[in-house]
Amino acid sequence: MRLDEFFVTGEPLIYAGMVSIALVTSAALFLLTYFKKWGWLWREWLTTVDHKKIGIMYILAALAMLFRGGVDALMMRVQLAFPDMNFLDAQHYDEIFTTHGTVMIIFMAMPFLIGLMNIIVPLQIGARDFAFPYVNALSFWSFMFGAMLFNISFVIGGSPDAGWTSYTPLAGAAMSPGPGQNFYLLGLQLSGIGTLATGINLMVTILKMRAPGMKLFQMPIFTWSTLVTCFIIVFAFPILTVALALMTIDRIFGSQFFTLTGEGLPMMWANLFWMWGHPEVYIVILPAFGIFSEVIATFAKKRLFGYNAMVWSMILIAGLSFLVWVHHFFTMGAGAFVNSVFSISTMLIAVPTGVKIFNWLATLYKAKIKFSVAMMWALAFIPSFVIGGVTGVMLGMAAADYQFHNSYFLVAHFHYVLIAGTVFACFAGLVFWYPKMFGHKLNERLGKWSFWFFVIGFHVCFFPQYFLGLDGMPRRIFITNIAEWLPLNIISTVGAFGMGAGFAIFVFNIYYSYRYSEREKTGDSWDGRTLEWATPTPVPYYNFATVPYVDKYDAFLAMKEKGETTYDEERLEPIHMPSYTGQPFIMMGFLFIASFALVFEWIPLAILGLAGGLIMMIVRSFDYDEGYYVEVDEIKRIERKARGL
């Protein structure tokens, strides 16, 4: 392969991207060397197995990905603003919407939520870490290397351009030759390993490591949403693994699953993709529901209404999520009977979702609502999500879907549910738990500015798109050459920049608050209700000096009433902790090399990388490191300092 084929050439925007990547990388390398931080980076972060640190790395990476996906989005909106725009050509536009979709779902929404789960779930259930801290680190590095692999396609080899759904035969070797599509397949495959492992890890953590006395139906609702989500992950991700593997074999080894030759069946890809893809939607929305429930209950200063119904509706949604995938291709022509079945199952999801909406409203009833920024995100979610939800039901009506399908009506719908659901939740959750993670709150004033910019921008951007869709504008076109579409497209682009401004203010707020915000003195920043607020801030690495006995929902509220804390000097015992290790990083590094080699179909290097990965597994198998104990005196010292005793 020639060098000018290896690097992407000929695009000014990409050259600019390359330059900025080079600058940022060298700046980072310089700073690390100048401040002699390499050792610190390795010892404190790259080898960590602490769920809180891993969670923070997840969230930082997700914010970076949100930036990248957001820039993609703005570029698309610029191109679509006016009919005569020549900002992007078709090819470049195709790459951008493909990476936008993939990055936002796989490398932004999921890791953001998994990051929050990482930090909060063990704290909420009174656990000292994950069930398998080593595996947790492995998961993170699998995601991180997968994301890196996907993102370097931007400058090396060329980005995938067949849409985030990568429908065959377009995405097959015959019509999309070259490394672009391979980046998609292997980037997702690599990060998928980690997601599945996290799913198993969190399930075991929640099922086996709850504080003594805590029954399943006394768990905080975010923990419940995590458990249900992990259940979906465990059952959905293997489908993606197989689908990706089959297409990889198709592309690299010439098999005939989804090809036009050899009687392959391209639509089978769509079938498998959506068998994973639909549950995936719930993987990113259920934790959001959990976050909103926590935030609303806390700032309404009121117990969550209908806790049992909330839990059961999540379980029901999880079950139904596996029975509706065909609604993504009603227009395939599987016949009226098949479409009827999936149409009805799709609409049924509205019932448990409706129950949840009404339960949130009922939680606000007779409450004392405090409009903090986290609460504002949660409140904005309710009406926005309802619009997304009802249009989802309309899309679920197969006969009408023939008109909605592939149009901007659909685009508007899924942005309404994914942004108003997932993205608002990410912001709400980050603002809410920020003091727990970093020891200080985010500035509320700046937070409100970013909130209003983002939320208004969001509605201005996506509401007009419903009408564009009804007016026949299809998704994924790089040009808006019909006069009637002009005004709405301009409005939409303006809204997109509003969202961009909101995000920029949010990021600035992180910096501003780091500099100027008051440091937290107690662990209980918002008068919280669940156990994560029972720990001091910053949270000691062992989380709980003494684990409380839980016999109620809203466990911390009960503790506060009884005057208990998680520091009982009488009951202190040495705490067993896992050792930090560089193995996960190295193992995933090898798999990264293998995947990168497979992208370019360099089989010998791929085999070497895989062998490296296998050797790391053998190393792990013979590794009998038992961790270490935190002595009582050490715990006393840390806790007294943190609690100001």
Partner: protein, 201 residues
Amino acid sequence: MSAHELKTGPLEYRTQEGQMSIMGFWIFLAAEIVLFSTLFATYAVLFGRTVDAPTPGHLFEPGIVLVMTFLLLTSSFTCGIAVHQMRKGSVKALIIWMVITLALGAGFLGFEIYEFVHYVHEGATMQSSAFWSAFFTLTGTHGLHVTLGIGWAVLLLIQIAKRGLTPVTSRKMFIISLYWHFLDVVWIFIFTSVYLIGMVV
């Protein structure tokens, strides 16, 4: 994380780590069921799409498949005895029965490789048609699992020989046994829905 160790019951269940690892593995097996069922679904949907390549009914031979099935069924049985011996505390019997299990597994693999080579010679390859792509991927994935299982078990036997039975080694052994029985479950479905149905239809 707790160091509390129970005094009774099978060794692998006594520590919380043991319990958690075993539970985690059960969850992993559920994911494996989904993984294989996706391959089965692909196989089922692509059934009959052979183009010019030979049809399955033409190539499948009942004899060799039955032998493979009996090898794997027996290995599952001997693996069960190995765990039984482990619970009785007999390292030596455990190792002997495990070696028999792995030998049977290796025999199974040998037949499978022979079978694949034979099919390729007849013109049924991964690249020849959608049906054969699906066939080789499904059975090949199972075969790969068996191979990995053998490698993994060998590593573990070394550890057991070195360290004897501890909560950690017996937990690992127990998990291997779950894995091995599970591969047998998968094979039962391959035997039935790939080979038998392939020969009937």
